[in-house]
């Protein structure tokens, strides 16, 4: 299981403000809290800073690394910002979020994966846009799998993101993702799966309930990575409990640790 802590993202208002003020202490605190809460990777996304994204990325990477020795997930639509982050990342194996089957994006990102030996989040979308069905997603996944492995990327470094869309907009959005995860697990057993969760509940009330249930449902299908807020104790508790129930937690040690850390006090 790989948890990417999503909080350092300038599309969140509070983060945007402190980034603009270059308030290093707040960023360090958020990085540390996520790491201590069990995040394996710290996501760094400053995509909203369109005018000086590269410089902001560099500042964020250095600030986060001054607080925690955690590997980073460099997250941007802008390849220059990703590369700036990769060049400075110094703990563990970095991760790139993300590559897609879109021709231009693929050609920009593949050299970065190769050069920095990074893990890669591979979004199941291509020049035809965002797929609706599991079958369409699998068509993109197949092409991505072949092109990435042909490019020398080890299977274990690939994290397919099935692309979670809101069930408020398309009633089948949830089930199509579950089916995709099942098929990926079956066809590419050595490749990982990762996704964000909050999209699934967009436009609906009581989003936490839907997000938490979706974690359990996707894990059951074989999802083994998430990009979410690790400070959400209940969510982390659900992940740990789900692992124990799926036989991925020898002697329930992870579950018991979660219990002792107070993840189930509600």
């Amino acid at each position: 299981m790989l948890i990417v802590g999503e909080l350092i993202n300038t599309s969140r208002k509070a983060i945007n403000e402190v980034v603009e003020k270059r308030d290093a202490e707040y960023i360090k605190k958020i990085a540390m809290e996520q790491y201590e809460a069990g995040a394996d990777y710290i996501d760094v996304n400053c995509g909203t800073q369109v005018f000086d994204e590269v410089e902001t990325m560099e500042w964020l990477v250095e600030t986060v690394q001054s607080a925690v020795q955690a590997p980073l997930c460099l997250d941007s639509p802008n390849p220059k910002a990703i590369e700036a982050g990769l060049a400075l990342a110094k703990f563990g194996q970095p991760m790139i979020n993300s590559i897609t089957g879109e021709t231009e994006r693929f050609n920009q990102i593949l050299p970065l994966i190769q050069k920095y030996k990074a893990k890669i989040v591979a979004l199941c979308m291509d020049d035809n846009g965002m797929p609706d069905t599991a079958e369409e997603r699998m068509n993109v996944a197949k092409v991505l799998y072949e092109k990435l492995t042909d490019g020398g990327v080890p299977e274990g470094d690939i994290y397919f993101d099935p692309l979670v869309k809101p069930i408020s907009v398309a009633g089948n959005a949830g089930i199509e993702v579950l089916e995709t995860v099942r098929l990926i697990s079956q066809r590419y057993p050595n490749v990982h799966k990762i996704c964000g969760l909050s999209n699934v509940s967009y436009g609906l009330p009581n989003r936490k309930v839907l997000n938490r249930l979706f974690v359990v449902q996707t894990m059951t299908m074989g999802m083994d990575g998430y990009i979410f807020n690790p400070l959400d104790k209940t969510m982390m508790g659900f992940v740990r409990a789900s692992r124990a129930l799926l036989g991925q937690d020898p002697f329930c040690m992870g579950y018991l640790t979660a219990h002792r850390n107070g993840l189930y006090d509600e």
Partner: protein, 214 residues
């Protein structure tokens, strides 16, 4: 049934998302010789605006908003043949696109289906559309409004490019522009000189209507 009663019924069917009854009410209005444009505007469309209001207040949710647009669509289908040939005036014409380099179109689809309910003609250019194509179409179609959606921070710049290109070609005063999409904000709209920003589908409808009234 009186005109008033039909209008009340029409609003009610939208608020209850009751497709079969909405179509029935529309058919009844036609059978009784009422003006379909009047029933649409004062009845069904008013219902949609009310749903939009409730959505803005967090009492109605996205699936319901979409369902209301769906019900509206079957109503307009029912009225279509009756309205054709009559001198119905569309409130305006809007060219809509997701900008170049961006393939996100879920939100745009929702916005368009709601805007259509208000008697605005929409030309949907789809996704990944270049600024020149957008301007070309707007000029050809003699549109009043241009709406663009951008979901990525990198493609957001296309909305600025649209403003710059319109200015460069002396076309800026010919159209009103509206921007939307996750990374867009009112501040962004102000900064690039767009006429409006739509936070969500309901607000996009409200603002398109008010831009057309200007």
């Amino acid at each position: 049934m009186s005109r008033e009663a039909i209008i009340q019924e029409a609003i009610d069917t939208i608020l209850k998302y009751d497709q079969p009854r909405a179509v029935q009410v529309a058919e009844q209005a036609l059978a009784e010789g009422l003006d379909p444009v009047d029933i649409l505007t004062e009845g069904f469309s008013a219902g949609i605006r009310k749903v939009g209001d409730l959505f803005g207040r967090g009492e109605v949710f996205l699936p319901e908003l979409m369902l209301s647009a769906d019900v509206m669509k079957s109503v307009t289908n029912t009225f279509e043949s009756a309205i054709q040939g009559k001198s119905t005036q569309k409130k305006g014409k809007m060219v809509f696109a997701t900008v170049e380099g961006d393939v996100h179109d879920i939100g745009k689809g929702i916005v368009i289906s709601l805007i259509k309910t208000q008697g605005i003609e929409v030309i949907d250019l789809g996704r990944d559309v270049s600024v020149s194509k957008i301007i070309e179409t707007a000029v050809q179609e003699n549109a009043n409004l241009i709406g663009t959606s951008a979901l990525l921070t990198t493609t957001l710049m296309e909305q600025k490019k649209l403003e710059d290109e319109l200015k460069k070609h002396g076309l800026r005063d010919k159209f009103k522009t509206m921007v939307g999409g996750a990374p867009a904000t009112q501040r962004w709209a102000d900064r690039i000189g767009a006429d409006a920003y739509g936070e969500d589908a309901a607000e996009a409808v409200e603002k398109s209507l008010s831009l057309l009234n200007k």
